[in-house]
Each structure stands twice: as structure tokens, then as C-alpha cells.
Symmetry: C2
Subunit: 145 residues, 2 copies
Amino acid sequence: MQKLYENLLERARSSGLRRTKALEAILTCLADHNRPMTLGDLSSCGHLSKQCDQTTVFRLLQRLSDKGIVRRLGLHERAAYFALLIPGTHRDYLICTECGSIEAIDAPCPVHQLEEEIRQETGFQNLYHELEFFGTCPKCASAQS
Amino acid sequence: MQKLYENLLERARSSGLRRTKALEAILTCLADHNRPMTLGDLSSCGHLSKQCDQTTVFRLLQRLSDKGIVRRLGLHERAAYFALLIPGTHRDYLICTECGSIEAIDAPCPVHQLEEEIRQETGFQNLYHELEFFGTCPKCASAQS
DNA sequence: GTAATTGCAAATACTTTGCCACGTA
DNA sequence: TACGTGGCAAAGTATTTGCAATTAC
């Protein structure tokens, strides 16, 4: 975890971002939780809630997104989610449509070959994919009946 | 197309929805375009723009979604997209992050087996998935340089 | 007749921008 | 010092709800 944080900070710095309290706090928060978080989650989390305005967090997420350090995900909530983008790593998610819980799937993602085909056939650049499974988790399913 | 519309109307009716002008118009619109559309797209489209309030379209989409006739998609735009849910059919999408264009991918989706594994391992009910590819389309890529 | 559906208006939620002050390099 | 960054306030966009009037069944 500590290692991850150091690494992220290094990437951020070398891509031109300044080392500010907000940057440290947001990377710490993302590294500690290591799951997709909304702007609201982040700006009410730990140091961020005390030290930074939500606008700051928003703009910082924009910059981190531009630099390829985080990625914005669309997970069906009204609010956007942001997740760390760690080279060599890819995550798919399983989401309960009732309670909104989000968990990462650790099975290998079966989409890479198709992605390669699409890259070649369409000429799209910077291609990546997002895969999510939606359903009702056992807990919510039993609560319904 | 006509067939599709008839079919949708039948499904809607038999799931308990009343046959109103708004229902006919929205199903016509979705069947004609057969691509994901936002609430804004829909309510400014054809008959809907003249005959229905946007709130009506919104609530109708909610009901159609409850009944499993349309599905809400998260495609990274700020606005939600809605697409027809046609039994036996599954669509993945390729989206340009620059111009926002959305096209359906016709290659067979490689995720079904994983989906089955997840269903069995996690006990999730009503499981389905959403797969999208994002990138820069050739047109936008050349416009950038 | 009854319950579902509709329209209009208003409220909410989340995101985004403007502007000037501040801090890092 | 210069330019990226931060805070506060306000605007923008999309969604959602309340309620009375209307319509399908």
C-alpha cells in the first residue's frame, strides 16, 4: 500500500503535477481504499474532508484522469466513479443493482483478444474496455422475499 | 421494424402497461433508431416532442425498465442512455471518447461463460453484463494532429 | 368507476465554471 | 517570479418528485 502510494505520487509528479496537500491526500485515499470512489466519497474522506474543497478534488481528478493515473467509470449511479489506473492491471466489477455494492472480480478478463481485433479492424486509438456485471446480490434477494 | 414494434407493444401491454400515445411513440422511436438513446434524444424525437412532456417520457422509461423492456446503460456521458432489451440479443458498444459516437459491435460477446461462473459462484440473481470499448476514433485521431 | 398515467412546476443531485488569492518550483 | 493550484460562490445540466387533472380499461 505504502509502495503503491509512493508509486502513484511519483507518476503524478513526473507527469507534471505539483506536490500539494490535496494531491497527497487524494492519492492516499485512493490507494488506501483501492476501489472505485465517487467525487463525494473522496471529498468526504479523511484528510480531504478537512483540507480541501470539493471543487479542488474535482479538478484534481480531472488532471489525474488526463494524465492516465485514474480513470472515470460509469457504474450506473448518478455520480461518476473514479478508480486508480495501475499499469498491467485490469479490473472488472460486479455490482448489485439493489444496494449498489461494488466488488472487483478477480477472474481473468476474457475480453482482451476481442479488444485487439477491434483495435485492428476499426483503427481506434487508446482503446480500452470496461466490463461490469449487474444483478441482485444474495443478501438483497433474500431481503426482497 | 414494424414487426419489432408490434412485438414490443405486445410485451408492454402484457406486462400491464396501458396503451397510451406516449407508449406507442416511445416504442416507435426506439424501434426505428435501434440504438441507445438518452432521455433528451427521445423526448425531442418525432411524435414524442409534440405529444409528450419530458417527465412522461422519463417515467415511461422507468416503467419499461422495470418490466425489462428497456435497459439503462452507463456510457460515460452525463446523461443516461436507454436501449431496447430484446430477448436472445446482446449488444456491446464501441464509443469514441472524443466525439461521443456510439456503435454496436457485432462480434460475438466473449463474456457469457464468465457470466455463468459468476452466477454460480456468487449467487447473484438476474445477472447481466455490460461491455463497452472506449477509444479515439480514426476521424477524431486525425483531427487532433 | 378506478387505478394508471400525464403535464406542469418545483426541488434535488451532481458537475462544471469564473475569478481572484495562494503556493510550488 | 510565473504558472499551476486552491477556495468560494454561482451557474449549468440531468434527474426526480408532488399534485391535481386526465385517460385507459
